[in-house]
Amino acid sequence: MEMAPLFFLLLVAFGTAEITLPDLPGYGYSDLEPFMDEATVRVHHDGHFAAYTNKLNDALEEINTLSPGTLPEDPVDMARNYNILVNRLRKKVTQPLVIKFRNNLGGYLAHDLFFRGLTPAKAKPTEYSGLQTLGTALKKSWGSLEDFKEKFLDESSKFFGSGWVWLVLELKSGELMIMQTKDQDTPYSAGLEPIMCIDMWEHAFYLKHKNDKQGWGQDFWRLVNWEQAELRYLAAQEKRAEKYPVAGDGDL
């Protein structure tokens, strides 16, 4: 019997191939020193991020078996459409499985953004190198880059519990906002596109910074990959144009 068509059938029936843990993007475990210690990079990536990836795959396998074809392929799309998808899954999937899906989808996406959003400090010619369109937009919203930094790190320094602080673009309004999410929730499902984020779970900073959230924020800032943020901002603007085309646009 031909295995290839059978495999294809199974793939179509049971959904996509496994999601793989992304490697650290373009830097090694010790390259973020001294602002993020190697031990933290290792356990954060190989421990926490890997666990979220594995458990997400487990959850997806179960969901795709119980409700084939409901979930899109791309985890980002799963997050963008989370509320609709969960409604569709409601009758076929138990609440604990929904929770497992939510937490691990969020954990996978948030950590992917987080690690992509970092770069070795020594790789940055200037503090904000890479910022162009986004830089202009940040200055428009907060007055100056320093004011934006202060607002962002104020949110993270006061953070309570586990969660994340994000710079997001609200798709509908086109506004840039600083916001918090708790646990592993991401802003996607609220129509907000992430530009950059800081992990405020204690595991992100405890080994080096202990309870000093302010110190962690300052060190994190030295590692922010503003080129990535700029790219994400441009992509978010495109997504906005796609979703909310301007009426009477002459180019259409």
């Binding site: 356990v43 421990g47 666990a51 309570f160 708790k182 646990d183 204690e202 405890y206 202990k210 309870n211």
Partner: protein, 234 residues
């Protein structure tokens, strides 16, 4: 203590379906406003040295946990309560409501950690026989209790606590988890709490929360848990 009764009534108030504040609650709040300035909360001392629970929990963690984390909850609770008293004196209800999250985080943090330090002791203790009998009757065995407790505590998403409580409504022991620093409230008495915030174990166990939970039983002071249980049953 007057102030912890006030905390309890805050939480009861938050769970009421209507916005009505009962007259006895109002009297308690006024009394608290008057006395809050004089009755600042303070960090309780540990009954043992920071290093006494090692290697289960290192001295490094105990010192940070007690002198930094818990101390911060105490300081911020005092500030929030002082501000609350001022707002209440001016009848500024919006300001009072605005302060409730800070009282919840920091008050809960203070209440929870104060219980926690007494639940631990160097070398732990045997389970007193009457409590052990109750655990066996409720959970099947001490081992089954611990493995259920550990499974539920390991599964806490984010920050929180695992608790053994006495449910006064039915007189039974129960396992409960709480998120963040939400304290045990209602007709339920906390007997034993295990902190599963990452700060409680990360320097020793990193992401291996289940390992921390397996080890922590070696330093649980069951005598203290039994004392709390006896007091709760009265």
């Amino acid at each position: 203590m007057a102030t912890s009764r006030v905390l309890q009534s805050f939480f009861k108030q938050m769970s009421r379906p209507t916005g009505v504040v009962g007259s006895s609650t109002r009297r308690q709040l006024s009394a608290a406003a008057a006395s809050a300035a004089n009755k600042a909360h303070s960090l309780p001392d540990l009954a043992y040295d920071y290093s006494a629970l090692a290697p289960v929990v290192s001295g490094k963690i105990m010192e940070l946990h007690h002198s930094k984390h818990h101390q911060t909850y105490v300081n911020n609770l005092n500030i929030a309560l002082e501000q609350y008293a001022e707002a209440e004196a001016k009848n500024d209800v919006a300001a009072m409501i605005n302060l409730q999250p800070a009282i919840r985080f920091n008050g809960g943090g203070h209440v929870n950690h104060s219980i926690f330090w007494t639940n631990l002791c160097p070398g732990g203790s045997e389970v007193p026989s009457d409590l052990l009998a109750e655990i066996d009757a409720t959970f099947g065995s001490l081992d089954k209790f611990r493995s259920t407790f550990n499974a539920r505590s390991a599964a806490v998403q984010g920050s929180g606590w695992g608790w053994l409580v006495l449910n006064k409504a039915n007189g039974k022991l129960q396992i409960q988890t709480q998120p963040n620093q939400d304290p045990i409230t209602g007709d339920v008495v906390p007997l034993l709490g295990i902190d599963v915030w990452e700060h409680a174990y990360y320097l020793d166990y990193e992401n291996r929360r289940p390992d921390y939970l397996n080890e922590i039983w070696k330093v649980v002071n069951w005598n203290n848990v039994a004392e709390r249980w006896h007091a709760a049953k009265e």
